[in-house]
Amino acid sequence: MSGDTLIDGPAITLPEDDWQGIGTAASEDAALYLELDGWEGPLDLLLDLARRQKVDLRRISILDLVDQYLTYIERAEALRLELAADYLVMAAWLAYLKSALLLPRDEQEEPSAEELALRLQLRLQRLAAMRDAAARLMGRDRLGRDVFARGAPEGLRVDRKNKWQCDWFALVQAYGQVKARTQPVVHMVRDRMVMTLDSALARVSSMLGVTLDWMELGEFLPAHADPRLRRSAMASSFVAALELARLGKAELRQDEVFGPLHLRGIKA
């Protein structure tokens, strides 16, 4: 805050009385010091100096401003005060700007000194605008300072209550799935009458030994067997016939597609 900025009055005499940035030391111990922390950097100091020109920021004299800044920094240096580097950088830049501004226009480099000066001016305007805006904002009627909300509101309570949703389908399906998941898996194979391949082989080959005539496959099956046994015997006897043919013990004949299959034994 500017109010915290202390400097001995006579040591740095600035041209105008309404100097805001620097105060007079309260103590008489003549310890001179300059607290640049009072400004938020060189741009802040420049803005303070610019406002002292008491003209619209759009019409400030950049040359005057540069002079004031440089004077200020020189005095601080004369007092052997430690200056933050950015203040010195700004001083160097402003010294350059000043010399450039003093050159005839044709000799200026790009960007021109006017452009640099204008840029500085625009920055100062923007900072000033925000500083004023901040002050106006802080000066508004603020809740808790100037205006107050109800001290003890009863409060609104919304008690949430769940309304559970489920339908018949989901319920029944869930039960079915529990059952399907947890029922012990029992695999029952019914006792079935079958003719094994071995017994069919024995039966067919022994029956082939009795006659040399062609016999239809069906004749090899047990005559009065249960229908299910007959199906099993048919399958086993067919495989047995193929096996005997492969071994050269029997020959097969089929007159038409899907027609009856005949076989007869071959004499060894």
Binding site: R160, K163, C166, L171, Y175, V178, K179, V185
Partner: protein, 199 residues
């Protein structure tokens, strides 16, 4: 509007707790606030907020007939979780049933919360204790359960064979389905007696 009345109104509004006329007066530099309080109380009569005096202390409060506005119930429709649906189905098919029995049927532990949800929903209730060691609590469905699911009675719940016919069972091996069918039939036929005999 009278400035003092405004000041009293604002003071009471911002106050953290009820204030006596003396306190308000002290706050407002010693003004006599009785008339202002009476005027305010009359003004707020019939509004949504009343200025009331309780034990010599004044405060604003919501009109009594609007108190219900301060506490509102909001219903949130939520779908029953998969686990809860299974438990509900087991209770419905096997009731009355203990938690241990539910777990035995599901093959997994049943969180206490699952049954709580079903009771909160109003579909399941505790109907007593089974007279076996440990006297476990037993659960059954409620009349609301029948209403919600559109069932005239529990007998309307389909049997397993019907479930399969309706394609409600996941495809499983024939043998398994066959075994289940037998088991299911036996169960649905025996279920009532079985429950009773278990007591």
């Amino acid at each position: 509007m009278d400035e003092l009345v405004r000041a009293v109104e604002a003071t009471l509004f911002a106050a953290g707790e009820p204030m006596s006329a003396e306190q308000i007066s002290a706050h407002l530099g010693g003004a006599n606030v009785r008339d202002a309080l009476a005027e305010l109380a009359a003004h707020y009569e019939g509004r949504g907020v009343h200025l009331v005096e309780r034990g010599k202390r004044w405060h604003f409060q919501t009109a009594a007939d609007l108190a219900h506005l301060l506490r509102r119930e909001k219903e949130e429709v939520r779908r029953l979780s998969r686990a809860a649906t299974e438990v509900l189905a087991i209770v419905a098919y096997h009731e009355p049933v203990s938690r241990a029995e539910i777990e035995a049927i599901r093959g997994v532990q049943t969180a206490k919360g699952t049954l709580d949800v079903l009771m909160e929903a109003g579909w399941v209730r505790i109907v007593g204790r089974r007279e076996v060691p440990g006297r476990p609590v037993i659960y059954a469905t409620t009349p609301d359960f029948l209403i919600h699911f559109g069932l005239a009675s529990r007998r309307d719940l389909p049997g397993i064979d019907e479930l399969r016919a309706a394609g409600l069972l996941d495809p499983v091996e024939d043998a398994l389905a066959e075994a289940m069918e037998t088991a299911g039939e036996a169960e649905s036929a025996e279920a009532p007696e079985q429950e009773e005999s278990a007591d």
